[in-house]
């Protein structure tokens, strides 16, 4: 499957400055593993050591947050648009 992956500004230096990548994979987990293999600098920023999604990364397939459609097992189809955005969070302590 070939899809488009939109890269957030903070991760672009790790992928040669590109804003989008054409990616392969039948699931989000496969796509992110393939990207990590191609760009080792993103290791640890997309997937946790146990293969789950990084805690502070939001991943969307088209309009859907993948946490609600299977997480790393969320299916990816041809021409899907996958968007990565860092979680925006904090607190008072």
């Amino acid at each position: 499957m070939s899809a488009t992956l939109r890269i957030p500004t903070v991760l672009r230096p790790a992928v040669g400055g590109q804003a989008t990548l054409e990616v392969e994979g039948a699931t989000i987990g496969e796509v992110l593993k393939n990207v990590t293999a191609q760009y080792p600098s993103v290791t640890g920023q997309l997937l946790a050591e146990d293969g789950s999604l990084h805690r502070f990364l939001n991943v969307y397939v088209n309009d859907d947050d993948v946490r609600y459609i299977g997480g790393v097992d969320a299916p990816v189809k041809d021409d899907d648009e996958i968007t990565l955005l860092p979680a925006v969070a904090g607190g008072c302590h």
Binding site: P8, F56, R67, G91
Partner: protein, 141 residues
């Protein structure tokens, strides 16, 4: 420097007041020179008095809107309900983008305290906040 109108400042503070007793939060759209074009309210999906997280749906929608409107997501704002308007260790550790403006408002006093910071490599630096009024400009820091 962060530049916003009085209405935008009021909208930001109102978003945080509506979230009480929890922390309130949202995003800022604007141009790279720090001029805010819009204040985007988010629910705090953490639903907490001590932590916040921007609703992931609002996050996606706001980034797409920025692309469509040719502006940037300039930064994020949130409230501290019981502590000063200064980034906490959690805020610093989770700051997602060194180019962003991090706006904090505190409800420790009756008049909300609104301040803005840059956070780069864990180093916090406060910046001027300019409120564009109809007849005068007010800078606070």
């Amino acid at each position: 420097m962060l530049i916003l109108t009085r209405e935008q400042r009021d909208s930001l503070i109102a978003t945080c007041i509506r979230a009480l007793p929890n922390e309130g939060c949202g995003l800022l759209l604007g141009t790279p020179d720090g001029v805010v074009s819009d204040v985007v309210a988010s629910s705090n999906v953490a639903e907490s008095t001590r932590v916040y997280e921007i609703d992931p749906k609002v996050l996606l929608r706001t980034f797409r809107r920025a692309d469509e409107e040719g502006v940037d997501v300039l930064g994020v704002f949130h409230s501290h309900t019981h502590s000063p308007a200064y980034p906490s260790p959690t805020d610093v550790a989770q700051a997602p983008d060194p180019s962003w403006h991090y706006v904090l408002t505190s409800f420790l006093s009756i008049e909300p305290d609104l301040r803005s910071y840059r956070i780069v490599d864990g180093v916090i630096s406060e910046e001027d906040v300019v409120i564009r009024g109809d007849t005068s400009e007010v800078s606070s820091r």
